[in-house]
C-alpha cells in the first residue's frame, strides 16, 4: 500500500515534470505516448475501418478477415518491434524510432477496428437495408445513410478496444529507447526503483481510463436516437447471425 502512496507522491513531485539531458519529464513522456498512440491509431483506422465496412456491407471475406486479424493478434508485439527496429531503415522526416513503433501498434490496433466495423454493419436489420434499397438508395447511400449510422455504436466500440490496446502497449516501445510513459516502468524495473515503476503503471492506467471514458461518451452520442433501445434481442436472433455484440460495450472481436 505504501508503494502506491509513494508512487502518487512521485507523480505529483514537481521535479518529475521537467525534461533534463538524462531524464524525461511526465509532460514530455505523455506527449510522446499520445503522439505514438495517435499516429498508430490513424494508420490502423485508415486500414481497418474501410476494410471492415467493405466486409460488413458485402458480406464477402468475413472468414478470411477473422483468420487474418486473429493471426495478427497472435504476433508478439515486442518481438515484432525488436525485428523491425533492426531491419527498417530510418525515415528522414520521422523521429528515429517512430516507423517501427507505429507499424507494431497499428498491427495491434487493426483487429478490433475491423471487427467493430463489420459486426456493426452486420448488426443492422436486413429488412431495413432491403427497405433502403427498395426506395431507390444507391449502395453508397445504403452504406453511409443507413448501415454506418445504425452500426455506429459497434464501430466506436471497436475504436475503444483499439485505443485501449494501443495505449497500454505503447509502453513496450520504451524498452528500446523510445520515450513514452513506459520509460518509467522500464527504468524503474532496471534501477530497482519500484516507486518510479509503479508511478509509470499508474500513469498509463489513468491515461487508458480517461481515453476510454471519452470514447464511451462519444459512443453514446453517435448512436442515433431509438437505435440502442430498439436493437432488441428478438431482432438479433431473427437474423440468426449469433453475434452477441451490443452497442455501448467494447467489441470482443473474433467471436
Amino acid at each position: 500500500m505504501s508503494l502506491i502512496i509513494q508512487a502518487f507522491a512521485w507523480i505529483f513531485n514537481p521535479i518529475h515534470y521537467t525534461t533534463t539531458a538524462l531524464g524525461t519529464g511526465i509532460p514530455d513522456a505523455l506527449t510522446q505516448h499520445l503522439i505514438l498512440t495517435g499516429l498508430s491509431l490513424a494508420v490502423a483506422v485508415v486500414i481497418g475501418v474501410p476494410l471492415g465496412l467493405f466486409i460488413g456491407h458485402t458480406g464477402r471475406g468475413r472468414s478470411v478477415a477473422i483468420i487474418a486479424s486473429n493471426a495478427a493478434r497472435a504476433l508478439p508485439s515486442l518481438g515484432l518491434l525488436a525485428l523491425l527496429l533492426v531491419i527498417l531503415p530510418i525515415v528522414p522526416w520521422l523521429p528515429s524510432n517512430y516507423l517501427p513503433n507505429i507499424i507494431v501498434f497499428a498491427v495491434l490496433g487493426i483487429p478490433p477496428l475491423l471487427a467493430g466495423a463489420y459486426s456493426g454493419l452486420e448488426s443492422v436489420d436486413r429488412q431495413t437495408i432491403d427497405a433502403a434499397r427498395a426506395i431507390g438508395m444507391t449502395e453508397w447511400q445504403v452504406l453511409t445513410k443507413v448501415e454506418i449510422p445504425l452500426g455506429a455504436g459497434l464501430l466506436v466500440g471497436g475504436l475503444r478496444s483499439s485505443v485501449l490496446q494501443i495505449i497500454a502497449t505503447v509502453t513496450i516501445s520504451s524498452l528500446y529507447g523510445q520515450v513514452s510513459l513506459g520509460t518509467y516502468i522500464a527504468n524503474g524495473l532496471a534501477q530497482h526503483d519500484y516507486v518510479q515503476m509503479t508511478a509509470g503503471a499508474i500513469l498509463v492506467a489513468a491515461l487508458a481510463l480517461l481515453a476510454d471514458g471519452i470514447l464511451a461518451t462519444i459512443q453514446r452520442f453517435v448512436v442515433p436516437r431509438g437505435v440502442s433501445r430498439g436493437a432488441s434481442k428478438k431482432r438479433n436472433t431473427a437474423r440468426g447471425r449469433g453475434i452477441a455484440a451490443t452497442p455501448g460495450k467494447p467489441i470482443m472481436e473474433g467471436n
Binding site: A21, L22, T171, G182, L189
Partner: protein, 302 residues
C-alpha cells in the same frame, strides 16, 4: 515490462517448486562417496548460459550430479534463488555482482574487487577464484564518428558539444554509469537513451543509424569486431574489473568442486569468451551446450 515482471515472478515460483529435489543429497558424506549434486543456474544472456554449461559439464565429467536451471533472468531474480539454495552455482562477473550486493562499492582493480566481493557476499555464498577472462562494460563509437572527432579515450567525449549514450536503464543510476562518467571524466554533455537489451542488436542498430553516438556494449560481444566499432579506452578505470567468477553455495563448496572449477577458470581467457559468443550468437547459431563441450575438449579439460 509487465510481461518481464511476470516472467521473473514465474521463474521464482518455478524455482521454488524445484527446490526440494536439490536439498536431499547435501549433507551426505558417508563412506562409498555418494555423488555430490549441484544445481547450476545462469542469467538470461547467452555468454552466461555458455559459462554455466561449461561449469556443469566439467562437474558432470568429475562425477557430480548436475541439474541445470538456465536463463533464470536478471540478478534480482537469481541471487535470491542462490541465497535460498534453489540454485547452487552461477557464473558471475566480479564487478557487477559486487555493485549489486553493495551499492557503495568503489573497488576497481581485480584484487580489490575480489576482496570487496568476499566481504559483501552473504555467509551462504562464496566466490571461488576468478578467471582472468573478463567481460566488462565498454563504450563504443562507430569508426566514422571516432575519426571525425578524433576520439580515443572516454575523456575525449568532453570535446563534443553534446553526445547521446545508449545503455541499459540501470546505467543512468549505477555508480560506474552516468554518475561516474560525469564525476570521473567530467562529461557534462551527455544525453542518455535507455535501451534494455544489454548492448544487443537494438543498441547496435541505434548506434549504427546515429540515433545515439556512444553505446555501452559488453567487451566480449562479437558485434564490436564485426562492425569495426572503436572501443574508447578507460584510462581512469571507471568500469570495475569484471572477471568471470563462479559463485557457489557455501554448503556445496567442497575441495573437489573448487578444484574442478578452478581448473576451468584458469584455462578460460577473454579471447575464449569472444570466440564462444561468436559461435553461439553469430551466423552458426551453435547450441550453448555444444559450444561449451567443444571448448572443454579444446582446452583438454576432463
Amino acid at each position: 515490462m509487465i510481461a518481464a515482471g511476470v516472467i521473473i515472478a514465474g521463474t521464482s515460483l518455478l524455482l521454488a517448486g524445484c527446490s526440494s529435489s536439490s536439498s536431499l543429497s547435501g549433507g551426505g558424506s558417508s563412506s562409498p562417496a555418494p555423488k555430490e549434486s549441484v544445481v547450476v543456474g545462469s542469467a538470461n544472456f547467452s555468454e552466461n548460459v555458455i559459462l554455466a554449461d561449461i561449469y556443469g559439464q566439467a562437474l558432470a565429467a568429475n562425477g557430480f550430479t548436475v541439474t541445470y536451471k538456465l536463463n533464470i533472468g536478471a540478478r534480482a531474480a537469481y541471487i535470491p534463488a542462490l541465497e535460498s539454495g534453489e540454485v547452487n552455482l552461477i557464473p558471475e562477473y566480479s564487478g557487477s555482482i559486487l555493485d549489486f550486493l553493495s551499492q557503495s562499492a568503489t573497488a576497481n582493480s581485480p584484487s580489490d574487487v575480489k576482496a570487496a566481493l568476499d566481504k559483501a557476499l552473504p555467509a551462504t555464498l562464496k566466490a571461488l577464484t576468478p578467471s582472468t577472462a573478463a567481460d566488462s562494460d565498454s563504450l563504443n563509437v562507430t569508426p566514422a564518428f571516432a575519426k571525425a572527432n578524433n576520439l580515443k579515450s572516454i575523456g575525449d567525449l568532453a570535446k563534443l558539444p553534446s553526445v547521446t549514450l545508449a545503455a541499459n536503464p540501470e546505467f543512468q543510476t549505477r555508480p560506474d554509469g552516468i554518475p561516474g562518467l560525469q564525476k570521473i571524466y567530467g562529461l557534462t554533455n551527455l544525453k542518455f537513451q535507455a535501451i534494455s537489451d544489454g548492448g544487443g542488436p537494438q543498441t547496435l542498430a541505434a548506434l549504427l543509424n546515429n540515433t545515439v553516438q556512444v553505446a555501452d556494449i559488453y567487451s566480449t560481444t562479437p558485434s564490436i569486431l564485426a562492425n569495426k566499432l572503436v572501443t574508447l579506452t578507460d584510462p581512469k578505470s571507471l568500469f570495475a574489473s569484471q572477471e568471470v567468477v563462479p559463485i557457489v553455495s557455501t554448503s556445496k563448496d567442497t575441495p573437489k568442486l573448487a578444484s574442478v572449477l578452478n581448473k576451468v577458470s584458469a584455462a578460460l581467457t577473454t579471447a575464449d569468451l569472444l570466440e564462444l559468443n561468436t559461435e553461439v550468437s553469430g551466423a552458426s547459431k551453435t547450441d550453448p551446450a555444444v559450444a561449451a563441450k567443444n571448448w572443454l575438449a579444446k582446452a583438454n579439460l576432463f
